[in-house]
Symmetry: C2
Subunit: 398 residues, 2 copies
């Protein structure tokens, strides 16, 4: 049967894109996974989550297994709100919506704000999953270049002026990962943050601030855009995926109460009470701050191991940014197609994500790749970088 006439106009437009997840490279199991954006398996609190489930079900019995959940869901909101307050985001619980991970947050925001002709400004490069979600909603993007200090707000201002002058449609939303950017690992300095907020006011756009890696700062956390937001233009998206465990799917949107109500409109029937209650029970014993404190030290060391190994083993034509937090190091290899190189790399036992998948126009990403130091041990990271350096050197000879 031919279903074409049954599809909605919106989904027909989405189906013009490449199927979701097609970018995910197929990595053999025995590789050193510098491709993986997962937390270090050693740091996932498996026994503690098991215990939290047990405590919750012993105390509340069937209550958290019903549709509407338990008072723990409000408690989770309170725990997250208090944590954000510590991060200089002053927030009421009515200004927070708990979501099934940052991805549901991004999907909900897209649903509320984006039509097929909405112009969305994204960073170049940007998080491929977010891009995939946005492309389900709109086909119109403005790309803002990134340098070693994150989004180039000067460039962005010029682009906005140019578009205004030419009567081109202006972006209604800007999606940014200002802190420990995925994939580049860069962080916007505070001056750029202020400039972006000023542009938002001047050119009348909203900002989606993806703060998924924010708690994993090595030395200090720059002020979140949300903390600088006087007009209610920032939708701050956070997650406990990197701090506790991705599989529990706990994320959030922090924004004005007006917008929370609108976002909840489409969230109501897509809630996940049990996992929220489990997370809240877990956080009774281990606070977010405490958790992230211990993770930060480990990831800082792992990042240093990776960048030292890069310095030691990589040939001259390879360059990278030094991260101040998060999971990633962004690499450029002049004149190399990193997608083609991946086959050789995995054959030699090391993986990465080719740069092209983080670009709207893939061609522009061919010479980049994303390395992650989150998943593997320090020993494996060093070994992996050495393997990758050899692959690059041999490729040059060939």
């Amino acid at each position: 049967m031919n279903y074409t006439s049954f599809f909605s106009e919106q989904s027909k437009a989405s189906f013009q894109n490449e199927p979701p997840g097609e970018w995910m490279p197929n990595i053999p199991n025995d590789c050193i996974r510098l491709s993986s954006g997962y937390p270090d398996p050693q740091l996932v609190p498996v026994q503690e989550i098991d215990q939290a489930v047990h405590d919750l079900l012993t105390k509340e019995q069937d209550l958290p297994l019903h549709y509407l959940g338990t008072p723990k869901m409000d408690q989770l909101k309170s725990q997250i709100t208090k944590h954000l307050n510590k991060r200089h985001i002053s927030l009421q619980e009515s200004e927070l919506l708990v979501t099934a991970g940052a991805c549901q947050a991004i999907d909900l925001i897209s649903r509320v704000f984006m039509d097929r002709d909405t112009v969305v400004a994204i960073e170049k490069p940007t998080y491929m999953e977010a891009l995939e979600i946005f492309k389900n909603y709109t086909s119109h993007f403005v790309e803002i270049p990134i340098d070693d200090q994150g989004m180039d707000t000067e460039q962005f201002e010029k682009m906005l002026m140019e578009r205004k002058k030419n009567a081109q449609p202006l972006p209604k939303m800007v999606y940014t990962i200002p802190t420990f950017h995925n994939p580049t690992g860069t962080t916007m300095p505070v001056e750029r943050r202020h400039q972006l907020m000023q542009l938002a006011s001047e050119y009348d756009f909203l900002i989606i601030e993806d703060h998924a890696y924010g708690d994993l700062y090595f030395d200090e956390l720059p002020p979140p855009l949300k903390s600088l937001d006087k007009e209610g233009r920032v939708l701050h998206v956070g997650s406990l995926s990197k701090i506790v465990a991705p599989g529990l799917r706990i994320g959030w949107i922090a924004t004005t109460e007006t917008l929370i109500q609108k976002l909840y409109w489409f969230k109501k029937d897509l809630d996940h009470p049990f996992l929220q209650a489990v997370m809240s029970t877990y956080l009774e014993s281990y606070s977010i701050a405490e958790q992230s404190e211990s993770l930060r030290l480990v990831y800082k060391e792992k990042a240093e191991t990776m960048t030292r190994a890069l310095e030691l083993y990589m040939p001259e034509e390879v360059t990278w940014f030094y991260p101040d937090g998060g999971y990633f190091v962004w690499i450029q290899i002049d004149g190399v197609d990193t997608t083609k190189l991946l086959t050789t790399a995995t054959e030699n036992g090391v993986s990465y994500i080719p740069g092209e998948f983080f670009f709207l126009n893939r061609e522009e990403g061919k010479s980049y790749l994303r390395l992650s130091y989150s998943y593997e041990s320090k020993e494996q990271i060093e070994k992996g970088i050495k393997l990758l350096a050899d692959v690059i050197k041999n490729n040059n000879k060939a």
Copy 2:
């Protein structure tokens, strides 16, 4: 700040509706909850789920707590597929999509198929949550009357002929709960099912078959529409919410592989691997068939307790349908506004859901109410019906 200019056209249209969940009556805690569509708390396998989590995490450690989950997710697909095969739905695993409950299933289907001007045929009355979701997508409904044998397919055929004759747009989708209908408890006989399938073919529409209560048959399960579907027109929506626990949010869509791929398009980033792995682990020890077997006997007895009490205590002007499975008894009280009556009822210690919330045009539901025998014990059910009968009798005198 005024956000109106930022909202998408689609969400602006949704915001014209009443906010979601507004229908939910506020029920005092000490009421006998004949309003509640929850499983019997005694039948929620709390310890067993706790054990499943423990077994899963002991065996697989951090694996199910990552994004992509574990082989258990495929195992869950296999467990559900095998169960559906037993229900005479012949199905490959590629024809199944696991969702976060039936509500995510309905939302995904709406997203793939419905534009603002799509005509959707629904039963009158129908499940209020589904109606709420559909209204987020479209404003055009055709309502098919229900009698004691579920959807009146004769009437529906006449409506379709009429619309065709008048060159009115025909429904592209039909949403039906053919088996143990919510809220009416009715079940479509097999002849009507065949007629509906024939109409689908003749008038070229797809069918959303909501089968959430299907496994809770008292004596026999009529053939699901999906089992009669030769052309690939049925999207069969199921759930383990009533069989295991709603809070685990495990539902599914069973349909053709082509449609599964399209539905997955929007599902990919909204997955919940951990709960799928927990459910699969649970089902290793307790099969769906086994589970539903034991539940059926309990609910059958509770339904009998309720209908016997209705016969015993209700005044003459009260009528109802006898259910053959599921959770609900649908009541009509001639000349009474059941929404107004609810205040008196809860003051007297018993609750129900007023009928109006199950109707697109609420006025038409004023004299109806939905009772549920699922949540309370047999003693409480009898007591609750007696209380409600007294409330109705006193109301008549007033």
